[in-house]
């Protein structure tokens, strides 16, 4: 249904593309807002900033999810003033994009529960070790519990929300 073959030469963005764009824009904004939702946990409060991206990956496709999660991370970081400096945030955003795409892919191939496990491992454990060059082993170990709990909450909530919304005609 893309473009309907109407006035191809005049039209640059089809209706379908505009829809994708607005979904991405809104969910990127939601990531920034999600960061304000603080869920208490044993390792400190966790923001809901990656749940929107993971949800998008399941609901609207891997690419959409990857874009949302990456820009969502950057925007969230910008709102608090790039706490870890811009290059590090770019690095993290890129990782998140990969994880979101992987999450979607596993969900398609193996189902939701394996996808959740993979999502938590990637976003919790692998992401922590990815900081090794910057923080050293000590930093990684300090970061690990925080990231694992954060990933668990965000990934599980995105999966449950997807299950709850799938039955309606919204997605």
């Amino acid at each position: 249904m893309k473009n309907l073959g109407i006035e191809q030469q005049e039209l640059q963005l089809s209706a379908w593309n505009v829809k994708r764009l607005s979904i991405m824009a809104i969910f990127i904004a939601l990531s920034a807002v999600g960061a304000l939702i603080k869920i208490p946990s044993p390792v400190g409060s966790i923001g809901m900033d990656s749940a929107p991206g993971f949800f998008c990956a399941l609901a609207f496709g891997g690419l959409t999810g990857a874009i949302v999660i990456a820009f969502g991370h950057l925007l969230t970081a910008a709102v608090v003033g790039f706490t870890l400096t811009i290059p590090v945030h770019l690095y993290v955003a890129l990782q998140m994009a990969l994880w979101a795409a992987a999450y979607r892919w596993v969900n398609e191939k193996l189902g939701l529960i394996p996808a959740v496990i993979v999502g938590i491992v990637l976003n919790g454990v692998v992401s922590a070790f990815a900081m090794l060059p910057m923080l050293g082993m000590g930093g990684v170990l300090a970061l690990l519990p925080f990231l694992v709990v954060g990933a668990t909450l965000n990934v599980i909530i995105s999966a449950l929300a997807y299950k709850a919304i799938k039955g309606s005609r919204l997605i």
Binding site: L4, I6, E7, E10, L11, A15, G167, S168, R169
Partner: protein, 613 residues
């Protein structure tokens, strides 16, 4: 050749056998619609919820089928262009569509930025954009707002900004989908006045989807009625609004004065064409008929009679409830005067140092039916949020059923005070209707059997039984509103607060909702209702509180309150039509206004019981 072209130009919209079915649905939402709209006309589209009004307007500018997929057959031509073959974006130069919710239509952060969004996409030169933006803002009465943040506009201003955003592209046809649903009466008239203005000055063709009708009857040239996706009626508004059975059949709200007229018509005293549609003609008719058929004993006696009428105690009619109604019956109020809500010197300030409530003293007894009214931003919602502790007073005290809200958490108060918010979509999250209702009970700590029983009862009570295992978001907005109410009712609150429960509902939906609220009221629940629909307030509430700029302006029975026409007007409230009619007939009826059609017709027959009870 030229005449042919002229002919095409005269027809603004031409629909031929249009049918449309949404993806993943069985029933088509539009069935075989054929309609021609001449240039420069003002057309009103009416019909119950789910009739297909929004769907039709989306077909007009090509969003269906270009954005929403599904099965479309038939032809749509707008200003001579085939909608199926023209991109939505190009069509927007010819046909401007203003959607239901203004919030999401405002794309820019500032007023000017938003208004210029359209022309910028068309690469209009900057100088011209500036000029057009200013002109358009003036047209919708937002001149000087250029640099205001769109987020900080009031509801009515947002609505007008949404219209400006479309108007600035200078379309020939303007389609508006319920542009006034959340506005106070004065705000609504202002939008209509703006539209009438535009039409006069710019020769716009206007298509307006709207539920309420009182002010539009003489503005619109034609009404088109949709019912379950079919075009069932089209013609001049006055003809439709005199035909009450038809209106009822299609779920459209009749005009209050026409209800009186219909009574006379049924009696055979007047012809169909004589049924009044506005206040002056109703006044004339009553003056003419009263001496002939009225049993009215002259106003002195009548007045005396009415003053002796004691307000009906809320618990009257208690015994008549059916067996299942017992659910909402609380322990019989032994002390009749139990106090449900008490406010002492309540002041409230939002963080932004803006005083939203000032010096409110108020007492509401158990079992009362109170309506809170006032203009947009008067503080109604702010006040209501104090009743369940969502907001805590900046100074002063709020005591609900003996509990001071400062000392209790909202989750504790939720067992006593039920709060139904305006937008049901803020609270629905479960995958089935049944689970949604169970949620509140689980929070309150109820267990298996009790939960099942209560859910069962409420499903029955609200008529949601047949949807119990469906996904709430596969239902219409009216049903979702009902689910939101039901999810509060399972908690058996003693006090029920409903914030604009009927916005965007059709007449049938309003009736169902109000019947439910009445049932609860009869069973002893204290009701606090916020509404902009004065007809509803007059008909159902026993006490009306008018808020203005965070303070109480008036407080009393509907009749008392609505008789202060001037004071109310300052507060953007227009008394209900029948009230205004009785002001006109003050010399006959006395100073206290009538608020129901049955009160007028009662002058022509022996007394009859009416109202909520």
């Amino acid at each position: 050749m030229e005449t042919l072209e002229n002919e095409i130009r005269q027809v603004a919209i031409c629909l031929k056998n249009l049918s449309y079915r949404y993806p993943n649905t069985v029933e088509p939402s539009l069935k075989n619609i054929s309609l021609d709209v001449e240039k420069g006309k003002f057309i009103l589209i009416m019909g119950s919820t789910g009739a297909g009004k929004t769907t039709l307007s989306l077909c007009l500018n090509g969003l269906i089928p270009q954005l929403l997929e599904g099965k479309l057959t038939g032809g749509v031509r707008v200003a001579g262009k085939d909608v199926g073959k023209t991109a939505v974006q190009s069509l927007s130069k010819v046909l401007g569509l203003v959607l239901q919710d203004p919030e999401t239509q405002i794309i820019g952060r500032r007023v000017e930025e938003d208004t210029s969004f359209g022309p910028r996409n068309f690469l209009v030169p900057l100088e011209e954009i500036k000029q057009r933006v200013n002109q358009t803002l003036e047209k919708v009465r937002l001149q000087g707002y250029n640099h205001r943040l769109s987020e900080e506009l009031s509801g009515g201003e947002k609505q007008r900004l949404a219209i400006a955003g479309v108007l600035v592209m200078e379309p020939e046809i303007l389609v508006l989908d319920e542009p006034t649903s959340e506005l106070d009466p004065a705000g609504r008239s202002e939008i209509y006045a703006t539209l009438a203005d535009l039409r006069r000055k710019k020769d716009l063709t206007i298509i307006l989807v709207e539920h309420s009708s009182e002010e539009l009857i003489y503005k619109a040239d034609e009404v088109v009625v949709l019912n379950q996706g079919e075009l069932v009626w089209r013609g001049v508004p006055s003809e439709l609004f005199r035909n009450l059975p038809l209106l009822r059949q299609w779920g459209i709200k009749p005009l209050p004065v026409s209800q009186i007229g219909w009574y006379f018509y049924e009696k055979g005293w007047i012809t169909l064409a004589e049924i009044p549609l506005d206040i002056p003609s109703a006044e004339g008719l009553l003056r003419k008929l009263l001496p002939k058929y009225g049993h009215w004993q002259g106003h002195l006696q009548g007045q005396a009679q009415r003053q002796m009428q004691v307000p009906v105690p809320p618990d009257q009619g208690f015994g008549s409830g059916q067996s299942k109604d017992g659910l909402f019956r609380h322990e019989l109020h032994l002390s009749k005067k139990a106090i449900a809500v008490q406010l002492k010197d309540l002041n409230y300030q939002y963080n932004s140092d803006q005083t939203a409530l000032r010096g409110i003293n108020l007492m509401i007894e158990a079992g009362e039916f109170v309506a809170l009214i006032g203009r947009n931003g008067a503080g109604k919602t702010t006040l209501a949020k104090h009743f369940n502790g969502l907001l805590k007073p900046t100074s002063g005290e709020v005591i609900i059923e003996g509990m001071n809200t400062l000392k209790y958490d909202t989750s504790d108060l939720s067992k006593i005070v039920g709060y139904v918010f305006q937008n049901p979509d803020h609270q629905i999250f479960s995958a089935t209707v049944e689970k949604e209702l169970e949620f509140g009970l689980k929070n309150a700590g109820f267990k298996g059997k009790e939960i099942k029983e209560r859910v069962e009862q409420v499903l029955w009570y609200t008529g949601l039984e047949r949807y119990r295992s469906l996904h709430p978001f596969s239902l219409g907005k009216g049903e979702r509103q009902m689910i939101a109410v039901a999810s509060i009712l399972v908690l058996k609150p003693k006090v029920l607060i409903i914030d604009e429960p009927t916005t965007g509902s059709d007449w049938t939906g309003v009736q169902t909702m109000m019947a439910l609220i009445c049932k609860l009221h009869t069973a002893g629940t204290t009701i606090i209702m916020i509404s902009h629909d004065m007809d509803l307030v007059a008909q159902y509430a026993k006490r009306v509180i008018v808020l203005k700029e965070g303070g109480i302006l008036l407080d009393g029975t509907p009749k008392r309150v609505f008789s202060n026409e001037q004071i109310l007007l300052d507060s953007a409230i227009v008394p209900p039509q029948l009230c205004r009619l009785s002001f006109q007939l003050e010399d006959i009826l006395g100073p206290e206004p009538f608020i129901e059609a049955s009160e007028f017709t009662a002058m022509f027959e022996s007394r009859e019981q009416s109202g909520c009870l």
